[in-house]
Symmetry: C2
Subunit: 119 residues, 2 copies
């Protein structure tokens, strides 16, 4: 499987999955997948969240609480799960508000090492 | 129940619960509860995470994705769940790495309106 196939598999297997992106912490995307008809700008989301993730890495260093492995965010109209793939890259999925966050977390956990292998 | 009793109830009912804090986004804590013998500096964690949460609120505004309701973070040696209580305050719980994140999310969701009522 290539990057896009792994992202597509994740998005399609989780209830409420909308789109996913593999991105560098510098905000540059390697690949993305969006469900047909989906309007979510997953690249823009990735770019904005990359800033938050960098802030979080910094916070985790200060607190000596180890590497940031995963971040989930629930907002007024959706959910986002991001997971570290390597020191330089992370994968992120956007879900509908009624999506399955637990399943998304599980799929991200299994996809991350596969993505890392391809990097 | 007062603030501390609500925090204590949350920490005690979740597997791996270590400590919880009710804090302003300005980093000033209203109250906290720590399990006996627990060394986690929950105030320091709250202060550091308040910065991240503010950044996340800002990100959510840019993305027009609504208010940030909840954030979960998994790091190398623990988990943190933070939930908005009001525009000015949030509640945060620290869990062991093998703690029950789903239960913590559920308890936070039910505790937040109770805490808000007392504010």
């Amino acid at each position: 499987m290539d990057f896009r196939e792994i992202l597509k598999d994740m998005v399609q297997r989780v209830d409420g999955g909308k789109a996913a992106v593999l991105m560098g912490y510098d905000g540059i995307a390697i690949d993305e997948y969006k469900k047909e008809g989906e309007v979510t700008d997953i690249q823009l989301m990735g770019i904005e969240y990359s800033t938050v993730l960098k802030e979080m890495k910094h916070t985790s260093e200060i607190l000596e609480s180890g590497e940031v492995a995963e971040v989930s965010v629930v907002t007024g109209n959706g959910m986002v799960v991001a997971r570290a793939v390597s020191d330089d890259y992370f994968v992120m999925i956007a879900l509908a508000l009624d999506g399955n966050l637990g399943k998304a977390r599980y799929l991200m956990k299994t996809a991350a090492p596969k993505l890392k292998e391809l990097l």
